[in-house]
Amino acid sequence: FLVLQAAIWQALNHYAYRDAVFLAERLYAEEALFLLATCYYRSGKAYKAYRLLKGHSCTTPQCKYLLAKCCVDLSKLAEGEQILSGGVLNKQKSHDDIVMEFGDSACFTLSLLGHVYCKTDRLAKGSECYQKSLSLNPFLWSPFESLCEIGEKPDPDQTFKLTSLQNFSSCLPNTCTTLVSNHNISHRQPETVLMETPQDTIELNRINLESSNSKYSSLNTDSSMSYIDSAVISPDAVPLGSGTAILSKQAQNKPKTGRSLLGGPAALSPLTPSFGILPLETPSPGDGSYLQNYTNSSSVIDVPSTGAPSKKTVSRISQAGTKSVFSQSGNSREVTPILVAQTQSSGPQTSTTPQVLSPTIAAPPNALPRRSSRLFTSDSSTTKENSKKLKMKFPPKIPNRKTKSKTNKGGITQPNLNDGLEITKLDSSIISEGKISTVAPQIQAFTLQKAAAEGLMSLLRDMGKGYLALCSYNCKEAINILSHLPSHHYNTGWVLCQIGRAYFELAEYMQAERIFSEVRRIENYRVEGMEIYSTTLWHLQKDVALSVLSKDLTDMDKNSPEAWCAAGNCFSLQREHDIAIKFFQRAIQVDPNYAYAYTLLGHEFVLTEELDKALACFRNAIRVNPRHYNAWYGLGMIYYKQEKFSLAEMHFQKALDINPQSSVLLCHIGVVQHALKKSEKALDTLNKAINIDPKNPLCKFHRASVLFANEKYKSALQELEELKQIVPKESLVYFLIGKVYKKLGQTHLALMNFSWAMDLDPKGANNQIKEAIDKRYLPDDEEPITQEEQISEFGTDESQESSMTDADDTQLHAVESDEF
């Protein structure tokens, strides 16, 4: 029985889902509901897990949690809610009840519950859940992110801090063994450091989950991959000791979030102590070295005194007192434990300090039990990598940024930390050495751990501030904050994507494009955030780059809405709107909860003049995400086209409330106000727009046209002259100048400008210009000939170059002039 369980966990750790499922089904015939459900869920078949668990009453919190997760994945939100909190009709459990019931996994439970509430429009309750979840476990990033996205403004300083030791330890698994999950193999060096915390079977499961392809959405979003960093204090010593802080890296680009290992023994699944018997397995990431390390240290495997089953994945159960700290060596940074050990301080904040994991480190005298703090120690880069790897499923997005800088600090101080696992260094001996000493006083371990966690917290705080600023559309500030992150964190996909998005929202498309191409260079497997890149390229009209991007993304991942959005943008730029519509609809099919796909589809329908469908699309986008200001803008545009100006203004205003710094929005509002005859207000708004973004030429243009309409010709001219300097090739500018001169009676200048305008725009606004010129002919009898000659001259020139549509028109002109 136990052997079977062990075998199953081993299979799970190696992602051999078919094996795992088969064995689990056999075991299930005897027992072990949760194990089978886990196998199903991890292998990506949430519906199987769902039906299985539903068929039996789930009493243990783990089963409940897994069932709730399956429900959410299958969009059965009401059911999920009912399982977790008693449902809408029954008496609902308070958050404290939940905390008590789920123990260590309460933070994840609350996070999941918050997700359900937000999706069902109960934002207040949702945000409450998220807050509570964060207070229980400040290592989680996704509740924080969700809070920012629904518009709340959580305070990163308050959120990401370790309030007490109690908290700290409660966040981390209690068992003595430390789990280090070495999830990732850093690109550069395989690292394996996984400390396993026996207790957290679930946690480990999660980790496995991440690596598996299952829809790990919520967990993942909860910062799944966790680097389990557990400073393990000798098992005998203190149950509290070291929890392992599992920093989970968010699968999605979130900085590593520490994931607290699910509770203590209580949370342990039925899988149990047998793990101790198991050979060390390489944790799911399957680092080769890891394996080696493990096998070497197999002797170390011990059932922790607490008997908590170690997660199979981690498979490392350290012996009493000895904890191996596996360091993940992600990037080249390696921790130099020894050095570090004593220094607590300097922790290489910067990624620059290479940390060397040396075998010797392993042997430090204080062989603190393996400490997962490795996570901290390892260079942030490494940890990041590792965590990234953990999340195999998702392209690593920013892994542990946080951990890095700070962890380094802390980590380094921990002697054990690391590592040795560097694959490059593979030193099994290290591990064994690591085991050595149980000596480490728990206190020392504890403080080290705390220091490491502090480091992480401070990183989380910074990132949190940056993200919060971005979600409130304080883009400049967000860019500022994020640019001050240590460079090894800065140069990762997640951070750069956020910065790119900030530039995008500021309408600085060139900058955004630069940043995004950097992201593509360093993390070309990343799809999240690429839809913004594709829209940036669309604005810049770089069709080649856009089609390369869309081809690459669709080849890479056909199941991601971002790839199809990019493809749709590509065809939209080529003006093949029907195909673009098809692709955007595909994006919606792939993920019906992706608001941006609806927005883009709406824009395409506007371009094909199917305004009703466009309205429906924009409304859908708002249904999915009420803070999606692009959709509000889209609605405003449609009403503007239909000349329902007050409705248009209202919608634009709503968009502006969400994103107050957008000069384009202000510009549109100004235009609408002018159309509503509120010209004073219009001018005010346009002035505001120009103040916010002096580089926006359209604002000036519209200001000039409002002035023109109000007959303030001199100021209009002045504005236009300035504009001419900024954008010398824009035909509209000359056209407007021509109109102003015409009104002022300076016909020569007017004609000159009109002809310039026509020159610059052979295909476009010909009609308008020609009309303007035609009107010119009638009143003045003396000049018609000369004028027409001029025009026809230009006309014939153009006809040679221009497209077919113009040919007829200009030829007509030429014909007429010939007659004179």
Binding site: A507, Y509, T535, W538, H539, L540, Q541, Q574, R575, E576, H577, D578, T599, L600, H603, T608, E609, Y629, N630, Y633, M637, Y640, K641, E643, A655, S662, S663, V664, L665, C667, V671, H674, A675, N696, P697, L698, C699, F701, H702, S705, I726, V727, K729, E730, S731, L732, L760, D761, K763, G764, A765, Q768, S803, M804, T805, D808, D809, L812
Partner: protein, 185 residues
Amino acid sequence: MTTPSKTPPGADPKQLERTGTVREIGSQAVWSLSSCKPGFGVDQLRDDNLETYWQSDGSQPHLVNIQFRRKTTVKTLCIYADYKSDESYTPSKISVRVGNNFHNLQEIRQLELVEPSGWIHVPLTDTHKKPIRTFMIQIAVLANHQNGRDTHMRQIKVYTPVEESSIGKFPRCTTIDFMMYRSIR
């Protein structure tokens, strides 16, 4: 002109589309034919494939009726005809009529084709030289080359000018700098 010269082929309408000044709106209309051979009907006329064609199967004039749901501005018609492949099936005299319904059609354009070998662009303008606004367009093939009875037509496209916003407040810009700021996507 005494010696009829061959009708020169026009540019590929796709290029027209790419300028962004016109949009193909055939999909917003109901198409019908006076007659057709099975397998050579409306679908083949509108499938974007120059290899497939409509073949009529009745007496002249052969008609293609395009009916819109609402009064639509039409700027250009593009017809693909190729003498080399269709020989006596190639239309030689085409009349374009517009109106509100079948009883109300008025001819606005008549064109003579001489051995066409590609796309023919037919701008449809009214007396004020603006694109016409109509509910229905009828393309009538009055005669074919070599006095053929039936006709082949390979493709027909209908283009409407891309409207700028009614007030012209967001007119089409020519430079990317302006266009970047034109909208939020």
